[in-house]
């Protein structure tokens, strides 16, 4: 992998703050001149990764190389990178010119050259004639332009941008996106861009790195990421999608929503549980005919500017989202067709919860720092390490956290057509995955209850 083509090589980066692991074995290789976007929800570790790249934070493990040189323990002021901060971080006591000239003056560049380069940078960001303005008198967008000029004037090998447009209004954001893209083309330097805005990532990037929970979920071009999401998280985070539980019957045949479908995926084995992703615009909808693959009733229809967004329920009770240029009336019977190539089949990361546990005695087991009653276990003594399995749908969530055996908060919600798949994070940082028909909100605090019958104990 250590190809000289790569300007940035991040290998096996891990980082924890206290007990919380924010980066878990992240590796990333960036080609010279690429526009790479690190995309993920807040708290996924993307900003931490960028700060480690800039040198403001240090990784607990792993190696960072820029242009082949190991810079893992090089302080930020000696790294060939420059950063554009989310909240601009312009020096309030300096004017626009002195802000931009700051780095060049430190490098003892000659005054006349500084002037030339500052003017060029200002021209590049469209801020000519603003040299002597007080930075505090500039608008947010203007401040961001100065911040960009301040970074690029140093001609870094890599420009890091930490959600640079997040504080701007929508219109300004769209304009700046285009300008950033142009700037990237003209400058020819590598951009590493951090954002939580998937649309921004799709518009700007050559390569997108999707992150969640401190791990890289998928790396690919915008088209790859959108069309071939690697897992249900990516599918849900990028664009709209229908995500359903399915079973791979055999190569090229998958079963979901109560019937078998032809698809193009192979190599999952027979009867393997899978997630199936179908983009709403890939479902063809028509008035009820005999040639449809699936039937249903329109539940809602909303005009979205260019297309209509409809929810359709099938006779088996699945709810699917469809986007189409034609509107169908609520209550109308419709037929649907899905092309084999539009059915994306993905490995399920897990099919049930697995916890490390310790037997207390033959009817009690401890896991998730909590004691549970379990069915009598013959032949297993107290203190023995075991593995506990609990099915997703056998975990009960309660409003009243005192009613549960332990408490956690809802972190990630996925609608699977006929039920929700939730991730509940305990206060110790463990994840419990739950299938439920009840509606919960992100960050809801819930009590978790598991009945003795649903605890399967396996010897290690």
């Amino acid at each position: 992998m250590k190809d000289s083509n790569f300007i940035i090589e991040l290998s096996h980066i891990s980082k924890s703050f206290g007990d919380k692991q924010v980066l878990d074995d992240v590796s990333l290789f960036v080609k010279k001149g690429e526009f790479v976007t690190i995309l993920g929800p807040s708290g996924c570790g993307k900003t931490t990764l960028l700060r480690i790249l800039a040198g403001f934070g240090t990784a607990d493990e792993g190696e960072i190389r820029i242009d082949g040189k190991d810079i893992t323990s090089v302080p930020p002021h000696e790294r060939p990178v420059n950063t554009v901060f989310q909240r601009y971080a312009l020096f309030p006591h300096l004017n626009v010119y002195d802000n931009i000239a700051f780095g060049l003056k430190l490098k003892k560049v000659k005054d006349d050259e500084i002037e030339l380069r500052v003017r060029k940078a200002l021209k590049m960001v469209g801020m000519t004639d603003y040299e002597w303005r007080d930075v505090n008198s500039l608008s947010g967008g203007q401040q961001q332009r100065v911040a960009i000029a301040r970074a690029i004037v140093n001609r870094p090998q890599v420009l890091l941008l930490d959600e640079p447009l997040a504080a701007l209004d929508l219109k300004m954001r769209k304009d700046m996106q285009m300008e950033l893209k142009d700037m990237h083309k003209t400058l020819g330097i590598t951009f590493v861009y951090v954002t939580h805005d998937q649309e921004e990532a799709l518009t700007l990037s050559d390569t997108i790195v999707v992150m969640s929970e401190g791990k890289v979920q998928q790396i690919g071009t915008p088209t790859d990421i959108y069309n071939e999401p690697a897992n249900s998280f990516v599918a849900d985070f990028i664009g709209e999608s229908n995500i359903l539980n399915g079973t791979m019957v055999e190569d090229r045949v998958v079963s979901f929503m109560g019937r078998e479908w032809e698809c193009v995926d192979e190599g999952f084995g027979e009867n393997a549980p899978v997630d199936v992703v179908i983009r709403p615009e890939d479902i063809y909808i028509m008035a009820k005919t005999d040639s449809g693959m699936l039937e249903g009733t329109v539940q809602s229809c909303i005009f979205k500017g260019v297309h209509y967004e409809m929810t359709v329920t099938t006779p088996d009770g699945y709810e699917i989202m469809i986007q189409d240029y034609n509107a169908f009336e609520v209550g109308q019977q419709v037929s649907m067709i899905i092309k084999p190539s539009d059915i994306h089949v993905m490995h399920k990361e897990r099919t049930c919860n697995t916890f490390e546990a310790t037997m207390i005695d033959s009817t009690h087991v401890e896991f998730l720092s909590t004691q549970f009653v379990c069915n009598e276990q013959a032949g297993i003594t107290g203190g023995e390490k075991v593995e506990v399995e609990v099915n997703f749908d056998r975990i009960e969530l309660m409003d009243n956290k005192e009613d549960g055996m332990l408490v956690g908060d809802v972190r990630f919600i996925l609608y699977k057509g006929d039920h929700y798949h939730l991730t509940v994070r305990t206060f110790d940082g463990d994840n419990i995955y739950v299938d439920t028909h009840d509606v919960w909100d992100d960050r809801d605090i819930v009590g978790v209850k598991i009945m003795p019958d649903d605890i399967r104990i396996k010897r290690v």
Binding site: E78, A89, F91, P92, K107, A151
Partner: protein
């Protein structure tokens, strides 16, 4: 009517608060040895205060006071500003502990601070003099400097230090070129405050000044007053001190008001 009584009450209290100072100020412009006798307007006390000779010890006390105040205020400003930057970047328990320790010198009565430092110096066998007074003054001045600088740091964009490093500044350059300009107003207020506190101090100074004959203004006044008679030159001196403190306080107030206004303007 209600307002009239309220105003009258305030003026009554102010009269009580300022009467003693005013009397001293008025009688600093007459020559009489005993306060209360008016023997005609004269600025002789002012000229004789600075003429040296008889009052050589008073003049050297003033000099000592100023040297101690300037050195102590300067050192506390440096120590306190660096500390404030450090404390600002601490989290959790460590921050709570150091903040509590920082409060102790402000909460302790001066006599306790004085005696505790006296015991420290004698048990370490340090001869008391200039150095010990300055160290003692730094001890009770620095917490106020930290309090002056801290709000500036809290208002500062947390990324600008990193931005400076990112643009190639060493940590030392980033401190000099970015952080210090940002916290300078707080440092100046802290310096002025430390300076006034140092000039004013009596209780801590008396325990740490030693027996080598070093005198500050406070200890001089104390010794003089204990002898029974008030040196007449103390009247112009008190007047000058009062006016100086008045000016310094007005400067601080105007500065902080201007800062508040600017803050509002940028919002």
């Amino acid at each position: 009517m209600k307002k009239f009584f309220a105003q009258a009450y305030l003026w009554f209290l102010l009269a009580m608060l300022y009467a003693p100072i005013l009397i001293i100020a008025i009688f600093s412009f007459t020559e009489a040895k005993v306060l209360g006798n008016w023997t005609g307007f004269s600025t002789k006390l002012y000229t004789s205060l600075f003429s040296g000779g008889v009052h050589h010890s008073l003049l050297s006390a003033i000099e000592n006071t100023l040297i101690i105040a300037i050195v102590a205020a300067a050192l506390s400003t440096i120590l306190g500003s660096i500390a404030a930057v450090g404390i600002h970047n601490l989290y959790g328990r460590k921050k709570a502990v150091i903040n509590t320790l920082n409060n102790i010198p402000m909460l302790n009565p001066d006599i306790i601070t004085g005696i505790s430092l006296f015991l420290l110096f004698v048990s370490l066998g340090i001869t008391q003099g200039y150095a010990t007074v300055i160290l003692a003054h730094i001890t009770f001045c620095t917490p106020y400097v930290v309090l002056c600088v801290m709000p500036r740091l809290q208002q500062m964009n947390p990324n600008i230090y990193e931005a400076a490093l990112d643009l190639g500044a060493t940590p030392w350059q980033a401190l000099r070129k970015v952080i210090i300009p940002e916290i300078k107003p707080g440092m100046i207020s802290g310096f002025i405050l430390a300076f006034t506190l140092s000039i004013d101090d009596f209780a801590v100074t008396i325990f740490t000044i030693g027996t080598e004959g070093l005198e500050t203004l406070s200890t001089y006044i104390y010794a003089d007053a204990r002898k029974g008679g008030l040196t007449p030159e103390l009247r112009p001196l008190s007047t000058i001190i009062f006016v100086t403190v008045l000016i310094l306080l007005i400067v601080i107030n105007v500065r902080s008001q201007r800062a508040a206004k600017r803050k509002e303007a940028t919002r």
